[in-house]
Amino acid sequence: MTAPPSGDAALRGVAHVYDLDDIDTDRIIPGKRTKTLVVADMARYALEDLDPGFARRAQAGDILVVGRNFGCGSSREQAPMALKAAGMALVIGRSFARIFYRNAINIGLPVLEIGDRPHAIATGHTLEVDAEAGRISDLSDGMTYSASQLPRVMLDILRGGGLVNYLVKYGNYRLLGQPGEDS
């Protein structure tokens, strides 16, 4: 990843676009590749059945751009882990399956939902993204897009780099500013 160009939260990376719906966890990483605790091993198999050349082309700091219901299927956390290990700094999708969405945040991989509006982001474009504000700028064609914002508890988890750090820091879950908060 190149250095954040503007503001703390912004990141800049090259897009890999697969604007297909229902890319399931088996195509993100096949079940037979997940039986390991060595994360680097998983990187080689990211999107293996969808695009065998992806893992080779992926560079640290790149951004994956996908269609609807990305990550449907199994609860395997190896799916976002493999993408992160392959170098992805962020996933932008039209929508995400719920377990994948939670898992990605929990391991510190930001995910942004952009809905069904048409976009012109193409593979090779350089994007600048403020994940917290949900702002995406395509530096290659000057277009900008907005994404939905994460609930506060997810932002807190993401800011610390994932749920492990969050629970190390707070010891328990907390919903700031909500009734019933217990911190």
């Binding site: 399956a97 377990i99 492990v164």
Partner: protein
């Protein structure tokens, strides 16, 4: 929140169960921290959860009596890497004193229900996407990943957003020869693979009242294939070996969508490759040549499922060149099927039995199809590569349809093959 007359509206089952666990009345859309009644993880998700738990500083799980670890996804271990992960889970379970089910005991979801680790009204987290299966028991159960599970092991709680609910009213009686699997596939086709994303689904209707626990589990199991956070089957008519207080929705509960689905003249349903939402009546795929059948998975490998297959295969032989793999859902089910002659009938017809567990459902071992092969399976997923080979085609159907198809060597209607 109020209805048009200004009165406060009633609550869905999901809202009632979550409210009881959040310690305050909550409604769809609210974020809550809730107490949980139980958790489980498998050999697919447990090792990462154990690592995350220790990275969180965890020493003792919050309540070992509420934690279950199961070896089912790749069990017995196909290689030394998996064997080592199994060893790690055995050691953790021993240290923590939690429930542990070793290889061959069965599939996680069946074991949670069979052994009463989950009960009606519970809020349960499972590190597996088919955890909504316990909605058959009228429990709010959702699938999470390993790190969320580790958080639950540490705190006994989780955060969640109270889901909106889709209500599905089944109208009419199920025709004979049609099963809960056919109803479930029909509904997945109707709702779509993400139609229930972030939402709960309530299933109700007279057809459900007549269902035993097993078909209710089949129905709730496939809520996952609609993307649902949880699937809740109306408890009316449910009998369990213990007493329970059913949670029913208020008559004026607010739903985001209500579907009425007439199943009075439903035909057996089949999901075609490569999505469980790609559903059509069997009539559209009759005669599709198959190489293998699989009867297994948390969807359809219980005693009634094995008996349905045996009814068709008893005294007959698989078609030449066709194989049939059967993985009973649990050792208990296997033993019952052994005692009543079901296993013998299936084995004599040419079926190959593998240990109770996930087996080829997840593509790790024990029956990976070859390139270009076509499999008809009772499982719940047919994504490309699901059974371990992206160059295979998987069709999903009921046990009766799978049995009829392995007899015919092609997708076949049980009513025709074995009337």
């Amino acid at each position: 929140m109020s209805n048009p007359s200004g009165a406060v509206r009633g609550l869905t089952v999901a809202e009632k169960i979550i409210s009881a666990h959040a310690g305050r009345a909550v409604r769809a859309g609210e974020l809550v921290i809730a107490r949980i009644d139980g958790v489980m993880a498998t050999d697919a998700t447990g090792p990462l959860a154990i690592v995350a738990f220790s990275e969180m500083g965890g020493k003792r799980v919050w309540d070992p009596a509420k934690v279950s670890l199961i070896l089912d996804h790749a069990a017995p271990a196909p290689n030394e890497r998996v064997s080592n992960l199994h060893g790690m889970m055995r050691a953790f379970a021993r240290e923590q004193g939690c429930h542990f089910y070793d290889i061959g005991a069965g599939i996680c979801h069946q074991l949670m229900v069979e052994n009463e680790h989950v009960r009606p009204g519970d809020l349960f987290l499972g590190a597996d996407s088919h955890t909504p299966t316990y909605g058959a028991l009228n429990a709010f159960a959702c699938g999470v990943g390993s790190t969320d599970l580790a958080g639950a092991l540490l705190t006994g709680r989780t955060w969640l957003k109270v889901p909106e609910t889709i209500r599905i009213n089944l109208v009419g009686r199920m025709p004979s020869g049609v099963t809960a699997k056919d109803v479930a596939l029909k509904l997945v086709g109707l709702i779509g693979a993400e139609g229930a994303n972030y939402r709960a689904v309530e299933f109700a209707g007279p057809a459900i009242r007549e269902m035993s626990l097993s078909p209710r589990m089949t129905l709730a199991n496939l809520a996952s294939e609609m993307g649902a956070k949880t699937g809740l089957v109306d408890p009316a008519g449910l009998t369990l070996p213990y007493d329970f207080v059913p949670t029913s929705p208020d008559p004026d509960a607010e739903y985001c969508v209500i579907h009425s689905v007439d199943i009075g003249d439903l035909r057996p349903q089949v999901a075609r490759p490569h999505s469980p939402g790609n559903v059509s009546p069997i009539d559209d795929v009759l005669g599709v040549r198959i190489d293998a059948g699989f009867i297994g998975s948390c969807t359809n490998a219980r005693l009634d499922d094995l008996r349905a297959a045996a009814r068709i295969l008893r005294g007959r032989r698989l078609a030449a060149g066709v194989r049939l793999i059967i993985a009973p859902v649990s050792r208990r089910v296997f033993n019952h099927a052994l005692a009543d002659g079901t296993i013998a009938a299936l084995s004599e017809a040419g079926a190959t039995f593998i240990p109770a567990g996930c087996g080829p459902c997840v593509g790790t071992h024990e029956g990976v199809p070859g390139d270009g092969e076509v499999v008809i399976s009772t499982a719940n997923r047919n994504y490309q590569g699901r059974m371990g080979n992206p160059n295979a085609q998987i069709y999903l159907a009921s046990p009766a349809v799978v049995a009829a198809s392995v007899l015919a060597g092609a997708i076949a209607d049980p009513a025709v093959v074995a009337p």
